[in-house]
């Protein structure tokens, strides 16, 4: 498992901060965000109340191809795919159905897909693109941060770029000084917003 280079939770209440560090750790792990987040700094002040999460992202450019998740074995007019990672299985089936038609695609069990009489070689099938994880990255990251953030903090401001993100939430209206706070927290990590 890849580790996050910088992971801090700053809170005006010591015990609460420690609990939130545990929560943030659990959520990022559960939502598979460790592969995405490079640095993260969370600041919570329940007295104001305000929740700020700022951080930088790793570059996720890998496009998932059939060859990444399955072993492709051609044999007498049919091509058998042994699935090693079923995360993208449904997307892969959808691509096959669109391209070859449902008559040519069969899934006899959970980890096997068989293609009959398809106009493609094993090497071509391995190169078929099935998913782009970076597309859903923003949605996943914001969802994870919403899970970490106290639930009552429903006024949110979410900023997300290719490399950096900031997430601010509060119970009350977000005012101008919030931007300065975001800048300050970025500076703690040695970054600029």
């Amino acid at each position: 498992m890849q580790a996050i280079e910088y992971f801090e939770v700053e809170c005006t209440e010591k015990a609460g901060g420690e609990n939130y560090k545990q929560i943030a750790n659990d959520v990022l792990l559960d939502h598979n965000m460790l592969r995405v987040v490079h640095k993260i700094h969370i600041y919570i002040d329940p007295k104001v109340p305000i929740f700020v999460a700022v951080g930088t992202l790793k570059k996720v450019t890998t496009i998932v191809k059939v060859g990444d998740i399955a072993n492709v074995n051609p044999l007498e007019g049919k091509i058998t795919l042994a699935i090693s990672d079923e995360t993208y299985l449904s997307q892969m089936l959808k691509v096959f159905w669109d391209r070859f038609g449902k008559d040519h695609v069969e899934q006899p069990d959970r980890f096997t897909v068989v293609l009959y009489n398809v106009p493609a070689t094993a090497a071509e099938i391995e190169e078929i693109k099935i998913a782009d994880p970076s597309q859903s990255l923003y949605k996943d990251l914001v969802y994870a941060l919403r899970c970490i953030c106290p639930e009552g903090f429903r006024v949110r401001s979410e900023n997300f770029g290719a490399e950096k993100f900031s997430f601010v939430a509060s119970e009350d209206l977000l005012t101008e000084p919030v931007l300065a706070l975001v800048k300050e927290k970025f500076a703690l990590m040695g970054e600029t917003p």
Partner: protein, 312 residues
């Protein structure tokens, strides 16, 4: 005759003998679970006969354990039903008290979250008040708990145990008005309770609930109920046979001073009121039969001896 709550766990083979024995001794079976080859009976039995049941159950691989929470209905109040509070810790705690014999209901508040915006509505308040005890599961910040508790406790009449992230001393200091029990260091968390220290925390919650409930039992004992709720359960089962067709896990939920009957109030309230206990004494005579705020159920609240001058 003092009845004590116990759980009998044993094989299916000849378990009817144990049921007969408990009934012959004057005990009541509150819940019966048949899980594969195992039978779990949650019951009230006379204190002096516990050893007898243990001895008779032994050849049948039966095990008798004390279950202080049998015959209680506990409200586990979660600040919301969002992913933030479910399934951990709310479900973990609700499930844990269930293992010890209690009937727990989870109440997710509509607007329990936050600090300034937290609130409780009349339906939530009334539903909580229909239970024997309410366990409030709060968050991690002292500031929020301090600010929201006076609002959330408005109109709550049943004993309350508060669980929150700050330690017990801090909770005792900040929760106003004062409540009956406090368990610290159990705030919001996002993982399953499986480490030994987390399970110890769950045990601590059970201890606190048991302590508060025993205090309540003592209070009830000073002015005893006109009839034991477990006995009412048997009578309703006999006199209102429609209850047999209710598919809820506990069609009749026994509480410390009452009973929840899971039948529609409009149709069956009169039948429940008119059910005779003995010598012309009816349920309506010694208990209030009222509509419950939970669905369209009936809630029976048994009156104490001081109001009725009857004990049956």
């Amino acid at each position: 005759m003092i009845l004590v709550p116990i759980t009998y766990k044993g094989g299916v083979y000849r378990h009817n003998e144990i049921i007969d024995l408990i009934e012959d001794l004057g005990g009541y079976i509150v819940q019966k679970h048949m899980i594969a080859q195992e039978v779990v009976l949650q019951c009230f039995v006379p204190k002096d006969d516990v050893e007898l049941i243990r001895a008779i159950g032994k050849p049948l691989a039966g095990e008798v354990t004390d279950s202080p929470l049998v015959g209680t209905e506990i409200a586990v109040v979660s600040m919301s039903l969002e992913i933030h509070h479910l399934p951990h810790p709310s479900c973990d705690i609700a499930e844990y008290v269930r293992r010890l014999g209690a009937k727990s209901n989870m109440i997710g508040m509509a607007r329990g979250v936050g600090k300034r915006i937290a609130g409780i509505n009349d339906e939530e308040r009334d539903v909580i008040n229909e239970h024997d005890i309410a366990v409030f599961l709060l968050g991690n910040f002292e500031t929020c708990i301090e600010k929201k508790m006076p609002v959330l406790l408005r109109g709550i009449e049943v004993p309350v145990v508060v669980c929150g992230g700050p330690d017990k001393e801090a909770l005792e200091r900040i929760v106003k008005p004062r409540v009956d029990g406090y368990v610290g260091n159990v705030g919001r968390f996002m993982h399953r309770t499986k480490e030994s220290e987390e399970l110890e925390k769950l045990d601590e919650i059970i201890d606190e609930i048991t302590r508060v409930l025993s205090k309540r039992r003592e209070e009830i004992a000073k002015d005893p109920l006109s009839v034991a709720p477990a006995r009412l359960m048997d009578i309703i089962r006999e006199k209102v046979p429609e209850i047999q067709y209710v598919t809820s896990p506990t069609p009749l939920t026994v509480q410390m001073a009452g009973l929840r009957v899971k039948l529609p109030y409009d149709t069956y309230a009169d039948a429940v009121r008119k059910a005779e206990i003995e010598d012309g004494i009816t349920i309506g005579g010694i208990a209030d039969v009222e509509p419950s705020r939970m669905r369209d159920y009936i809630i029976v609240r048994v009156k104490p001896f001081s109001e009725t001058n009857i004990v049956v």
